[in-house]
């Protein structure tokens, strides 16, 4: 076995699964799209995979609030499988709706470092309605932060990716925010605090965070939508906007990092 296995989780309303699948394939992984029902029933074992990806979409219609129903389902029906997966040092990425799910399960930002003794997952932050109060689709500049995140190792200091969401405003109590900063868990920030450069009004311009190990990662922007340079909204102006030495888009590096980490540490 030479290729890491990626399990791309789907359920009713997941809709970025196909391009997330493509992204991991471009990065050199072996991928499988798996309905959560097949994990719950035991037909598929999570432990057979090295990377769990929760793609974007509107899981269960985002009824009640974005991602919450899938989060509850994962937390209560896949408790052991998830805990073992994380404990085994494997990787988890949630994009957009997937990030919302990870935050609502409590896997992100993760168990409080100041609260030793209990490992129960609880939700400590949220992704609230955008300050613009509507769904918005636009490209944003991201600043890569110094963090333990394995998905963003050695990537460019500035990354350009699209967002497309209504509920993407990251917000958390002051102590949780302080803890994220202290642990370097903020992976990406929007490059500016002003709307629309910060498209949703997130606290501290947070666009993506990881847990303290750097192996669980969630972000609102969509790296799977920028796999080749022709996805860039200004590629026709290329000389002014892009590195002309590569045909890769900014998003691909995130998937490659995951695959490379898995190859080096999990196979």
């Amino acid at each position: 076995m030479t290729e890491p296995k990626v399990l791309i989780l789907r359920t009713a309303g997941t809709n970025c699964d196909a391009e997330t699948d493509t992204a991991f394939q471009f990065a050199g992984a072996e991928t499988a799209l798996v309905h959560i029902q097949n994990l719950i029933s035991g037909k598929v074992n999570l432990s057979d995979s090295h990377i769990l990806a929760i793609p974007g979409g509107f899981s269960y219609g985002d009824d009640i609030s974005a991602g919450i129903l899938l989060a509850v389902e994962m937390k209560h029906k896949l408790t052991d499988a998830l805990n073992q997966f994380v404990a085994a040092g494997k990787l988890v990425i949630g994009i957009c709706n997937g990030f919302q799910v990870l935050v609502r399960t409590g896997l992100l930002p993760g168990v409080s470092t100041s609260n030793n003794g209990t490992s129960e997952m609880t939700q400590r932050a949220t992704l609230a309605m955008n300050t613009s109060a509507k769904f918005e689709c636009r490209w944003v500049d991201l600043e890569t932060q110094r963090s333990p995140c394995v998905f963003t190792k050695d990537i460019k200091p500035s990354v350009y990716l699209p967002v497309a969401h209504a509920e993407g405003r990251f917000t958390a109590p002051v102590d949780v925010l302080a803890e994220l900063e202290a642990n370097n868990q903020v992976v990406f920030r929007y490059a500016d605090s002003e709307y629309p450069k910060n498209p949703n009004g997130s606290d501290a311009d947070i666009a993506g965070i990881c847990d303290t190990t750097g192996r669980i990662f969630g972000m609102m922007p969509h790296p799977e939508r920028f796999l080749t340079k022709w996805n860039h909204p200004r590629w026709t102006r290329s000389a002014q906007t892009q590195d002309t030495t590569t045909e890769e888009g900014d998003g691909l590096a995130i998937f490659k990092n995951a695959v490379n980490y898995a190859k080096a540490n999990l196979l």
Binding site: R10, A18, F26, G61, E136, P233, R234
Partner: protein
Amino acid sequence: MSNTVNEINILNADDAELMRISREGTLSLNLNEMKTIQTHFGALGRNPTDVEIETIAQTWSEHCVHKTFKSIIRYSEDGKEPEQIDGLFPTYIQRATEDIDKPWCVSVFSDNAGIIEFDETFNLVFKVETHNHPSAIEPYGGAGTGIGGVIRDALGTGLGAKPILNTDVFCFGMPDMPYTELPKGTLHPKRVFKGVVAGVRDYGNRMGIPTANGAILFDSRYTANPLVFCGNVGLIPRNRCEKSVEPGDLVVAVGGQTGRDGIHGATFSSAELDDTSESLGSVVQIGNPIMEKKIVDALLQARDRNLYRSITDCGAGGFSSAVGEMGEHIGAEVHLERVSLKYDGLAPWEIWLSEAQERMVIAVPPENLSELVAICEAEFVEATVLGTFTDTHRLQVFYEGAIVADLEMEFLHNGLPKPVKSAVWQPPMHPEMPSRDEETKNYTDDLKRLLASPNIASKESVIRQYDHGVQGGVVINPLVGVANDGPSDACVITPVLGSRKGVIIANGINPKYSDVDPYLSAASAIDEALRNIVAVGGTIEKTALLDNFCWGNPDKPDRLGELVRAAKACYDIATAYGTPFISGKDSLYNEYRDTTTGEQRAIPSTLLISAICVISDIRNAVTMDVKAPDNLIYVVGNTYAELGGSHYFGIHGFIGNNAPVVRPDAAKRTMDRLSSAIDSGWVRSCHDCSEGGIGVAAAEMAFAGGYGMRLNLDNVPTGDETDADDYLLFSESNSRFIVEIEPQYRDAYETHIAGVPIGCLGTVTEAPEFVITGKAGHPIVETSIDVLKSAWQTPLHS
């Protein structure tokens, strides 16, 4: 309402009684049709049941059978010999496609959507529909189920296509209309606008289908009858494009449950609206996009395992038309008590006719049933066996063991008497507006007013609410330029990620020209759609068209005369360009009647042309934003004094009489040469020259690119003697483009395009100035791109 079946007493009914039955039952059947039904059942010696007469009314509705487009028309035009047209559809639309005979057309007019070739593995399906009447009454639900319905058309084509792109075109009343002028019983255009956008947004975004192309138009005549065009492109394996049904196959319903929603949708939309229509809540369907997403997820797996032989969606007429159409050539029997219901209490005819959303019907060989059910269960989708396809050539419907409908397929599908309608067309005469060169030397304010007029102004606030990037294949966005906010002519996507092969989707629509001549409006709509294709790097050689006619009441000879004019243009222009129609639809009776005053209003005759083009390498695509200072700006194609129905005349309160003509021979040469110049890499940017003419097109290119322009009208090539500055600047002559060429490619470009009228108007400037010099040698527009951009962006931003 009880669960019983009623007999409808028509055998002894006189004419007045027949019409009462039709009217009170919302059957939308005319006297001739009612009498045909009476004669048919007279021969059988019995009355029809409510299930039967409702089934016939649905099947024969304008919405389902498009009888106007198939009717015999006696047409007379001012000063010409009257002629008889044996069906507008066969004569002008279908015949155009047959005469053009493109080998890459896989399936035209026969399935739920047209199919064309894409690559070695896949074909593309494309369909555009309207959901006008429901959107007038309940904008959010009407528009959402409009997009939901057209997605199911793609899913119901061949053995099912994966939906990959949405396109939406809306026509509303003026957003600033005073509430006091609002017709009785209608919603304010702003509310319709907001509700429609939200409905399309929430459905399309939840389905995970990019909405990357569209248009929004405003005209006060759309106030009571807004138009909502929803389109979907799908990707389908080449070996899954054909369907069949065999006796013994099971009739299986897949998807949502059936309720009382949307009953009579098909017949309702085949009638005019009036000030009481607002209370008809039950005719509007209720959408659930996540249900539809689950159906797509389940059915595409079943398709790939070959588990069913045929598929169609439950749209207008519900099960009655879905099963009736699938079993047309063999027969079918259905047991209504098996239908999964949202709640109890539905009468059999209601179950049979309900237009509850998110339901598909498939024909499943019995041996595949268990595998199909397993797939559906895994995706949490209900699959219910309703009956069997038979060899009886009858449509037989049972309820709790009793037969409630027993109709011959032949009568149901071919019993409709072909109507004879009369049509006249008389060219109107409007006051003409002379050039204003005598009274003004400066057109800066005119240009700003045009950019700020709602039809031209930026639609960014709407576009950003749609997810245009999902599925990861969009390579030319609807918004382009240095700040991602310029108006792209068309969108380009790569349906297969990693492949360079692309699809362009564009549209053309010019209802204002219908006020002069619907022929010119239709011809211009085709030309505009093709210009938009060419402007981003496509070729007309690989382009197919869709036609969507939205018209007033075709029973009125003048309205039908306008339809004849438009249909004639469709044949003439499509064949001249060699661009076949692959699918289309019509929505007639877009009229409003005030029941107290008797006042009657029709929409402007509106033809939407949607275009789809396959390109071999998306890397050759271009966008409309200027790229670099010192590059040269050319106009391509002749300008004429054609301002009839133009936006420039419009802002001065005129319509005029010289709407833009299409000159296909010259135009085809223009587009072909320009396409190959773009393919050769000589064109840095290219923009369709349309609404607001050269002035608006050049301004949009400049502010989208973030650079200025200095232009001179002296070099504008003209096809007539036009030399008035305002005419040259704002004429909307067809088949023209503005292009940007790097100085180093000037000779290559000019040599290549020789034979096509072009004129170098000036250059791109580093400074954000926008200056146009008139024929007399003085600046007639002098401003900055920031001022122009602000004028363009402000109106619809709230």
